[in-house]
Symmetry: C2
Subunit: 390 residues, 2 copies
Amino acid sequence: MAQYLRSVVRPAERLLKPLQFPHKLLMGPGPSNCPPRVLAAQALPLLGHLHAEFCSVMDDVKAGARYAFQTANAVTLAVSGTGHAAMEAAICNIVEPGDVVLIAKNGHWGARAADMAARHGADVRTIVVPPGEVFTLANIAAAMAEHAPSLTFVCHGESSAGTMQPLEGVGELCRARDCLLLVDTVASLGGAPFFADALGIDVVYTGAQKVIGAPPGVSPISFSERAMARVAARATRVRSYYFDVVELANYWGCDAGPRRYHHTAPISSMYALREGLSMLAEETLEVCWERHLRCARLLWRGIEDLGLKLLVENEDARLPTVTAVVVPDGVAWKRVVEHCMSKHAVEISGGLGPTAGKVWRIGLMGYNATEENVRRVLKVLQEAITACKM
Amino acid sequence: MAQYLRSVVRPAERLLKPLQFPHKLLMGPGPSNCPPRVLAAQALPLLGHLHAEFCSVMDDVKAGARYAFQTANAVTLAVSGTGHAAMEAAICNIVEPGDVVLIAKNGHWGARAADMAARHGADVRTIVVPPGEVFTLANIAAAMAEHAPSLTFVCHGESSAGTMQPLEGVGELCRARDCLLLVDTVASLGGAPFFADALGIDVVYTGAQKVIGAPPGVSPISFSERAMARVAARATRVRSYYFDVVELANYWGCDAGPRRYHHTAPISSMYALREGLSMLAEETLEVCWERHLRCARLLWRGIEDLGLKLLVENEDARLPTVTAVVVPDGVAWKRVVEHCMSKHAVEISGGLGPTAGKVWRIGLMGYNATEENVRRVLKVLQEAITACKM
């Protein structure tokens, strides 16, 4: 063997051991378990990132995202990153330094969007209601009148608190004021009725690892014509090359030009997303929404039957996909979570951000949204609480 | 079934068809084929993004990246995106508006880095040699003296031209001038000797889908202490939340604090990257480097035996992983590429950026770097050229 100029440092021993871990039932706010068909798709051989067959997979993903979002937007694609990447792609393309951005904050995701918008130079204004509550249309109208934002952010499924924000009328408010409407549907899409075009939404994104049932790593996003006109009228360049929607739209075949190499898409993750979207299309949105609501109602009743309280009192404002359960006095929330995992390999999750330490969060998403799983998680939770009374 | 406020638009028919495509031998500049063990890892069940078992997978990836880069840098991790995401993560964390950034440009990747640095407000200066040539240490020293950059970018494996940039001495130049050294090893890492620490490199990144043999979607990156000190001393916030290395370092357990939720890592892709890095550690870097060089030499001799010319005349400056073959007069390069694919399901690639239309590029990376594949690609290329003489 050749002598190299330098000597090579040996690898850590841990790398030489086989990869292994237990199978878990992921009943937290995501990722949730993937259907076997989706996992199997990831074991398919790789294609090149501009091969005709791969472009066809991308076209399937576009069609699936359009269906899931209920939009006809030409610029509908998947960002090559996780849900946070899609949030950043939305914000960095729309926001320019000095723009007034209104954030409706009733949990963790509003706070995260505010941070991202501030990093991109926005003048961030917020309206706030406590976690577990949602905004009225009057709340939003008043804030828009006060702040005159050029972009308003609303989280449809606030997974930190288990709320689902009603969106009827918000799009009209924004259009009347030349404001774009950005909606986060990471935790909600496919699990509750949503109609991007009919609701007048300008930018919307979701994650792969929730209802769609694919692993995290690629995230559907859609931009309206109004949103793309705003991008075209920017005074400053989009800071990010990786998330530049004009470049992405070309690579995804959303514009009239031939597809150019922009970056190498995550090939295997795209297969998985395609299969997840395909399964959603086969089931149909209506049936999938009904399934999630039916399972959620079963869970909510079961939780109340255990003598526990749901954080979101108003049933109409509850997110079917993520349920927040108030941790009762005298119970160590973390020990309960650990009990469920160590004894049963079942994940339930603690709170996040403003709800940390105050709630457990139980996810019912995609493949995991079944009555059998509801019964299992209720049984495991009951046992854990009994075992962990302080 | 409930009546919804809006009516649902049906999905496109294409989504309801099964996912299928041919197996291909990917002998372009990447992605290359993954070993079966890596693909199988992606079919393993999902874990949560902060589960102990998943943190252990991340720790394996850190160890593997440290080994592959030959670095002891604490902040060594994988960005949740493809190679372009790693390039952007490197640039957006280091560059502040007004910084002078020197880009050594001898192909597509220098141009791409220049674009990204400009988007982040850098005052970009370039030194240029034609594709197929590399920079001398004197070239780089002179440019540094002229421009006094705070960051210098060099591409180790310039895959658009098939060159490998010698790096000996560049780190010392940078240290003498308080300049950070950023090196792109997307196309080269694992395929040729590389020693990040010994060479005095401050930021280095690579892709998963080249020698490491995992699908694209997660990209190893490493920051030296000098680089992290520069990040800590920034006057402005890092624009990107998703790529903020201080946040990433915490999530990856590279700092002293408990791991916080930053984003949901691409779970399946991380399994695959772990297995790819593990296989590299098992083979050892020295053996892997030798294998790539042996196969490359076989390819180079075979190309010359076909009467074809290599773009890079100086053998010491040739990249073992990607070989650029000059398209001879009277041959339609694109028809050759199409012939190889349509008749044999073998990918060879055209040029990129400044080499587009002028060269074919043949990749020998990771799992695909075998003598059998060299013989196959030579045979297929010879047949295609004969068939496509104009």
